[in-house]
Amino acid sequence: MPRLIRLTAVLVGSALAIMVLPTPTIAADLPTGIRAMDGRVAPDFSLKDVDGNTQRLSAYRGQWVFLHFWASWCGPCRLEMPKVDAISAELTKVGMVFLLVNTSEPEDVVFSFLGDAAPDLTSALDADGLVTETWDPRGLPATFLVDPDGKIRYQALGGRPWDEPGYRTFLKRLIK
């Protein structure tokens, strides 16, 4: 009998615990180093890219944007770039926009680096670094995921292995 009481107490306790625990959110499923943001409006910008085209963030409303700040002198940026290249090849086809912003480097440096590290990618040129300053990332590299309404939904802390299954699944889930 005492055993039955104990069991009942455990079951009731568990039920209560489940009731008072917060409802699991998507944040609990986020891959390591991905942080949910508060949905603030993404600051718009307009920059020329290495091909001479104008890249305006707000032109991509209606699509998820993988917004990536980088510089070629930054070691983690160099290591991460091929992974960004790989995942972009897959996700661009299904509607995600990959918008890279180089921070403060000359066009020839950017062109040369991307030719080796990520031949399928182009990058906007934040020549004076002021767009990067406005976005104020926690460091370089930095990736923000901007939703189709132009709101910042996620931030990656530092370089991430985007081509690994957990990150790939996470990105795919966004655009579904």
Partner: protein, 189 residues
């Protein structure tokens, strides 16, 4: 030619260095490496020549790049291994020289002001800014920070330098702090 090669090698070293500081698994050996349950701390001293070469390699005019020799550069990395917020707050780090004198570090804002007075291009100010440690950062679980701390030189007999770094924990900094003491830091010429 020899000068060029030396500069190129120094530059390559610094690029690898930044990679090492920011990625724990890179083939890179720091001067100082401290593993604690709450954090990993690494540091490497850089010479003025290495830092000048790095910034000249990024297009800084030579006379401006020479300005970096007024400080010694300590490339520093911190990994938050806790499940809480760990604060990297330089106001809670105390560097002392061999005589026990407190050393001051020059932060991003001071450098920015200095560069503006010297007329450095905005692009280079921006680049420099990203290579210097911010004054404060609330490190999330698993987050890493790696950048340079620049100490103002107090004379020719600073070494060895010691550091006592306090890392508060929790969103409101009420937890901890984790205290890390580092000895035998070298401020290189």
């Amino acid at each position: 030619m020899i000068m060029f090669r030396a500069a190129t090698q120094s530059l390559a070293g610094v690029v690898v260095l930044f990679a090492g500081v920011t990625l724990g698994n890179a083939a890179w050996k720091p001067d100082i490496s401290i593993d604690r349950p709450e954090l990993k701390f690494v540091m490497i001293s850089r010479s003025s020549e290495q830092m000048q070469a790095f910034y000249e390699g990024r297009g800084f005019p030579a006379d401006k790049a020479r300005e970096v020799s007024s400080a010694c550069f300590l490339t520093t990395g911190v990994d938050n291994l806790t499940r809480d917020t760990l604060w990297m707050d330089l106001s809670q780090w105390e560097f002392r020289d061999r005589h026990g004198r407190v050393l001051t570090h020059r932060g991003r804002d001071q450098w920015k002001q200095h560069w503006k007075q010297l007329g450095l291009k905005q692009a280079h100010i921006s680049t420099f800014n990203w290579t210097v440690m911010p004054q404060e950062r609330d490190l999330f679980p698993d987050e890493h920070i790696g950048s340079n701390i620049t100490l103002v030189r107090s004379g020719n007999d600073m070494n060895p330098v010691t550091l006592t770094a306090r890392f508060p924990l929790g969103k409101d900094k009420s937890g901890g702090p984790v205290i890390v003491k580092v000895e035998n830091i070298q401020c290189l010429d």
